[in-house]
Symmetry: C2
Subunit: 344 residues, 2 copies
């Protein structure tokens, strides 16, 4: 495959997810089929295995392959994975970017390890002290809002919540296509003086920032469509995210349990099954196509370990968008303009 400077160079961790490398390779092929004119994809991982699969699919000449001997597993300690596995597909894929030979990295592997390896390989955007991972949340009014942080930064100070607000705001503006996104601070009451030590201080910082800060929002506002970006510490965000995912699973279980109670229920639920599926699917934000890791000096898109090939395709397209729209540069300008303003 020839080099082409107009193309977006994506390094895909072919060994990341639960179904690697099959879903990764299929995802790459799907993306290539749709946008071959702009994509230059490098599959990083077990070279022989990747080659064999590509041959089977008849796509041997459409991708670069970069061999990586090791794999970061879901059991590996995120913080140790960088040091302990220098030849992992994750680290090698990211180092391609730090060497300037790639524009973005995509992985469905161990989320914490992607965070750690990205931060160490790429460094942080000037002005950002804490990278953040966001998650889409379905909105009552259709579409999605984003929740930052969902686990990248567990112990937060107020200053970090400002960073999340800036990064989330830029992301929703350029990737979510929402001009002047509404940012809410997750809290236990709407009044300015409500909350814990960190949120009370953060309110004051956000109020005086250039962000479109709509004030405190409560737990029941997250899905309400009231905000485009909800900001909280990574401990709280992670718990909300996992809780939200479990609610839909439990509802499905309850519907099934109800159906199995007696024959009449079974007939009823059978008749209604497809309708129910359609409605619950509107809540299914698993296929959003990966979540961005923001604040690192490069592009890294993280996907669920169970990502389908379609989800992986969408992650690749998300990475392309992040590069094309130069989201990181916009974050750098925003956070530094705020810092400069504040230093006056």
């Amino acid at each position: 495959m020839k080099e082409n400077n107009n193309k977006i160079r994506i390094a895909l961790d072919a060994m990341g997810g639960n179904f690697a490398p099959v879903n990764e390779i299929e995802g790459a092929i799907l993306a290539y089929k749709e946008k071959s004119d702009i994509l230059d994809i490098t599959l990083v991982g077990d070279g022989k295995l990747i080659e064999k699969h590509l041959k089977n699919y008849g796509f041997s000449n459409n991708f670069n392959i970069l061999n990586a001997e090791d794999i970061v597993t879901m059991e590996d300690s995120p913080s140790d994975s960088y040091k302990n596995k220098p030849k992992s597909s994750m680290r090698i894929g990211l180092e391609l970017q730090s060497k300037g030979e790639s524009d973005a990295f995509v992985s469905t592997g161990n989320t914490g390890a992607v965070l750690a390896n990205s931060t160490l390989s790429l460094g942080k955007i000037e002005g950002i002290s804490r990278p953040t991972i966001g998650s889409p949340m379905p909105s009552l009014k259709g579409g999605f809002s984003m929740l930052f942080d969902v686990g990248a930064s567990v112990d937060c100070k107020s200053r970090h919540l400002l960073e999340f607000a800036v990064m989330g705001s830029v992301y929703m503006n350029y990737i979510g296509n929402i001009p002047n996104p509404r940012v809410g601070l997750l809290n236990i009451g709407e009044e300015e003086n409500k909350g814990n030590e960190i949120t009370i201080k953060a309110y004051d910082i956000l109020k005086n920032s250039k962000i479109n800060f709509i004030g405190n929002v409560e737990g029941d506002d997250i899905l309400s469509g009231k905000v485009d970006v909800t900001v909280c510490d990574g401990y709280t965000g992670n718990i909300i995210l996992k809780f939200a995912e479990s609610v839909i699973e439990i509802l499905k279980y309850k519907f099934k349990e109800y159906a199995n109670r007696n024959f009449k229920n079974k007939i009823w639920m059978g008749m209604f099954r497809n309708t129910l599926k359609k409605i619950l699917k509107e809540f299914d934000y698993q296929n959003y196509g990966g979540v961005p890791l923001l604040g690192v000096n490069g592009v890294a898109i993280i996907g669920h370990g169970k990502s389908t090939s379609v989800a992986i395709k969408n992650m690749i397209f998300r990475a392309v968008e992040m590069v094309k729209k130069n989201v990181n540069e916009k974050i750098r300008i925003e956070i530094n303009s705020y810092l400069n303003n504040n230093n006056k």
Copy 2:
């Protein structure tokens, strides 16, 4: 009404909820009808209004009335309500207990104000520094677990999480009738070293306590049936609680929206409406009958402002149970045995 020392003396805030005093008085009558032999209920509030209502219902001679000129509203600042409204039905109802003339207080008024007034009127149980409010959470395996704290104590230290674990454990043992309840620490990973500063320290304290501590639990474990008591700081718990409440509301809205899309959907949803209601009702923990405020040196049961008369009846019965089973004395013994063990 004659005094009787074998009866449980309940002070009911007749002015608390959104439908006060109607639902309160109806709830008191429902409770009285079922358990007149053990109940001695005092209705606290606008004496003339209460008297009029009781007369209408034909129950003039079955309740005590204690006049209170003022009402704590939902808009009142919880922390100021005690000082600013010394003649509120809330404070007067609670002071009946601090004077030894009542055994328990029940209110559907401003939750924060019940917390503040109870703590100031009744004091705290020896060994407890932070009272807590718990909320039932539906469990996948049927029944409920309890989440502590859902907003009484916003800035928590590890030591406070131990207190919540002890109080929650005693509550689930004696009120939930679960021997040796399983206590989980809400966290962002199962491993001992996961979490923020507070939970990492709390893990260590809980591990060395006499509590049946099953370790860290994640957001998706809350509803899973894995735990009987989930412990977290009041900021996180409050957000989870409000988020959970909103999910069911949003689902109802989505079902309705789907029905309104076209005539076929409307027919479908119409046929399925009752079944759906039955299933969602299993998730409806609003009618659990009030949540306990634990850690104060007395009994206070807090209900939702929208409580129905049946919910208020259940709150009165919950108060009776708390008194009969002497839950506070058990909390005192547990927390102090732990403190003594630790001082060795």
